[in-house]
């Protein structure tokens, strides 16, 4: 990263391996400098409906509309849009002069093709009652069966990125990614993607001309890439790595609130958990503050309700906080007929209060939280056995009804309106990544009203009703608010981290030296 012949160059030269010989340059200019960005996810897939997030993050592909860092809809490939008086027809005007990276213009036809393609596949498009999508006089027209407040948030979702027709083969398989964003792909392998600034990009030209993404699955590797100075931006750092890097002081750490909450999914249909008092007892047994400070060094991470303060419209500061009260938890369970056995675990007749907790094996923070939960639940006489699993096992256990407890982090801003996620998660009987065996018709009705569009005052009342219901009924138990933690090279200026995980904001950054 430095100019001249470095010790690294000399060592490589001394090793004398083919192609690795010392390549001393008279002095590296910032314009030539390659920006290395590191995160865990793999850039192996080309299919936009499943890998769109990566291509949006890198600024390679765009969506029809965008979302700013507070979750508000902003312009994307569409510069203007309007809705008919009955709310059933939406017309989008595309940005003039926009070009795909193969030089073809971005017109309404490829946009319609991509949206239709996304509609045919599983994904968020299905939460909007779309009747037809068409191109008409250079505009994209979307007709709805009923009015929906979720259309724009869904069009901003990364599974709806717009790619050039040449990205697909005759069988409609994505074979390359030709987007229209500020960066175009110059090289792609299983773990690395090289990009350069797209000269026909219509916005402000990026100050960083060349960049590379490296997928590093291990958190230790990501931290050491940052510490060694090899990487300029490293995302998805765990807390020990963040503390180590902060102490070392070589890099600039950004730690911001994220819309993700780590929660405990409960099978409300389970005989031990069907009574609200049992769910309240489990919630009262959790010492969130101890977990937040002891394991993550940040008291603000204790989840006092389902949605964090990030959601200003959805976080009710006046709501009674979820708190810890072991004695009250024991009283509630005693009311349900549970009595401590010889080993301290509760018994009711022949039943023993023992539950299985599915925990994602791929997340490094989860073993720590589950270990803490095991101890905290044991204090009220509940025995938890932890089963490391894949995400698919949680969904499958939900489907076949064998799930008892599961822990995962849920991004409630996966779509730029939490209603879309809440509608899926708390539908009748629950859903894969939300409640299980729980049904609240009033809340479902409130969500449907919000999805259809409601006046601001009415919408605020409905949001409050939903938040209060979730806090009172505990179909899931919120545990920890997640953070987005990243380490940046100190030579970078205008560093911005997008909590919504929609962009690395590379196009806005510049070298300060």
């Amino acid at each position: 990263m430095k100019g001249g012949c470095t010790r690294r160059d000399m060592l490589l030269g001394a090793v004398g391996l083919g192609g690795l010989l010392c390549g001393c340059s008279p002095g590296e200019q910032t314009a030539d400098r390659e920006f290395l960005i590191v995160e865990a996810s793999h850039p192996t897939k080309r299919e936009p409906t499943s890998a769109g997030k990566f291509y949006a993050l890198m600024g390679i592909a765009e969506t029809l509309v965008n979302v700013d860092d507070r979750g508000h809809i902003s312009t994307g490939l569409a510069l203007h849009w309007e809705m008919s008086a009955d709310g059933l027809e939406w017309r989008f005007d595309l940005r003039p002069g926009a070009h795909f990276h193969d030089g073809t213009p971005v017109t309404a036809e490829p946009v319609v093709r991509m949206l239709e393609r996304a509609r045919k596949r599983p994904g968020v498009m299905h939460v909007v009652p779309i009747a037809a999508i068409a191109a008409h006089e250079g505009r994209v027209i979307i007709r709805l069966a009923t009015p929906s407040a979720l259309l724009l948030p869904v069009l901003a979702h990364d599974s709806t990125i717009i790619l050039a027709p040449a990205s697909f083969d005759a069988a409609d398989q994505a074979v390359q990614v030709i987007g229209s964003g500020p960066y175009r792909i110059t090289g792609i392998t299983e773990q690395e993607v090289a990009v350069e600034a797209w000269e026909r990009w219509g916005g402000v030209p990026p100050a960083i001309h060349r960049a590379r993404y490296l997928s590093a699955a291990r958190p230790e590797t990501r931290a050491l890439l940052s510490e060694s100075g090899q990487a300029n931006a490293v995302f998805d750092l765990d807390w020990p790595s963040e503390r180590r890097l902060r102490d070392a002081g070589h890099v600039h750490i950004v730690d911001i609130a994220s819309p993700r909450t780590t929660l405990l999914k409960l099978n409300v249909g389970h005989p031990f958990l069907a009574d609200l008092r049992a769910r309240q007892a489990l919630s009262l047994a959790v010492d969130r503050l101890a977990i937040a400070t002891g394991l993550f060094g940040n008291a603000d991470r204790a989840a006092t309700q389902l949605l964090p303060e990030f959601f200003t419209d959805w976080h009710d500061k006046n709501l009674p906080r979820l708190h810890t009260d072991v004695a009250q938890a024991q009283r509630l369970l005693a009311e349900l007929g549970w009595q401590p056995g010889a080993d301290g675990i509760l018994l009711r007749g022949d039943e023993r209060f023992a539950l299985k907790l599915l925990s994602l094996a791929t997340r490094t923070d989860q073993p720590l939280i589950t270990a803490a939960l095991q101890q905290q639940f044991r204090r009220i006489g509940v025995e938890i056995s932890v089963i490391p699993c894949s995400p698919a096992e949680i969904v499958a256990a939900h489907r076949d009804g064998t799930l008892e407890l599961a822990m995962f982090a849920r991004n409630h801003m996966m779509v730029a309106n939490p209603v879309a996620v809440l509608m899926q998660d708390y539908a009748k009987g629950g859903a894969d990544w939300g409640a299980m065996g729980w049904n609240n018709p009033d809340m479902i009705a409130a969500l449907q009203t919000l999805a259809s569009g409601a006046a601001p005052e009415r919408a605020a009342a409905l949001r409050q009703q939903i938040v209060q219901t979730l806090q009172a009924e505990l179909p899931v138990i919120p545990l920890i608010f997640n953070r987005r933690i990243a380490a940046f090279d100190k030579r970078l200026a205008n560093v911005q981290v997008d909590a919504l995980e929609r962009s690395y904001n590379m196009a806005a950054m510049r070298w300060a030296d």
Binding site: R8, L12, S50, L225
Partner: protein, 314 residues
Amino acid sequence: MRSIASLLGRRVLQALLAALFVSSLCFFMVRFLPGDIAFDIASGRYGQEMTTQAAAAEVRAELGLDKPMAAAWLSSVSALARFDLGRSYTLGKPVWGLIREQLGHTLQLSGLAMLFSLLIGPPIGIIAALRPGGLVDRLNLLGSALLRALPPFATGIILIIIFAASLHWLPAAGHTQRGTIILPALTLALGLAAVSSRVVRSAMIDVARSAYFHFPLTKGLPLSTVVLRHGVRNMAVPVIAHLAMQFVYLIEGAIVVETLFAWPGIGHALSHAVRERDIPLIQGAVLVMAILFVLFNMVIDLVLVALDPRMRAG
């Protein structure tokens, strides 16, 4: 010649049997894993948050996962017989193309690791053998025990901390930047050299006790000449036989080391494929590794025959 032909014939038969056995074993192991395969594949395709029952249903219909297992196995074996490895369930790309690319990276890494280990292990082993119980021998014993006890993951982290994070001599990870291959290759090489140095030492001690080693010394030839002319070739037979065993360590170590160093090899791809139950990719990767293992053993056999005239005779 007849013995060489029979050796080659045996190895080819072994390769065919290994192909049938490992591909069938992979198929049944992956199918019998707990949980629904359609959900794992959907998770690999769409990511955690987009893994839903609708996504799994689409995967099940597209890949015909409801078909009876025996019929699915027969279809997979008959495709293999036609040298058709199929398409990856999660990536949608032809498996052969994926393996070719990944295998190239793994062979590059393994080859350099083997080279480094040969530069480190045998010279230390020879020096240790010349004075058994001496300082070099005792240090070698200690170093070998330590390096062998450490998992490759820990050795790799230590090397990154020293050479990348502290000294800034080498890049920490990746594969396109200059020099990224050195630390993962060294990680594997140290594990290999830890054992090969001890094997070389033992072989060299046996050689050093022999009459054909002492005779030229008594004639007045310098030690270095005697070692090179009479020692190395004789002790090479057990050492090269040991190399075949080290191939297993390389494959095993590659999975861990490639993941740690973000190296896009077949080991790293295999770990992802297992997690996502990508049967065609798992079958293809394991099949290629098994055939490589047989081929590598065949090459070792041929080298041993070339080195040792007694083997040619019998």
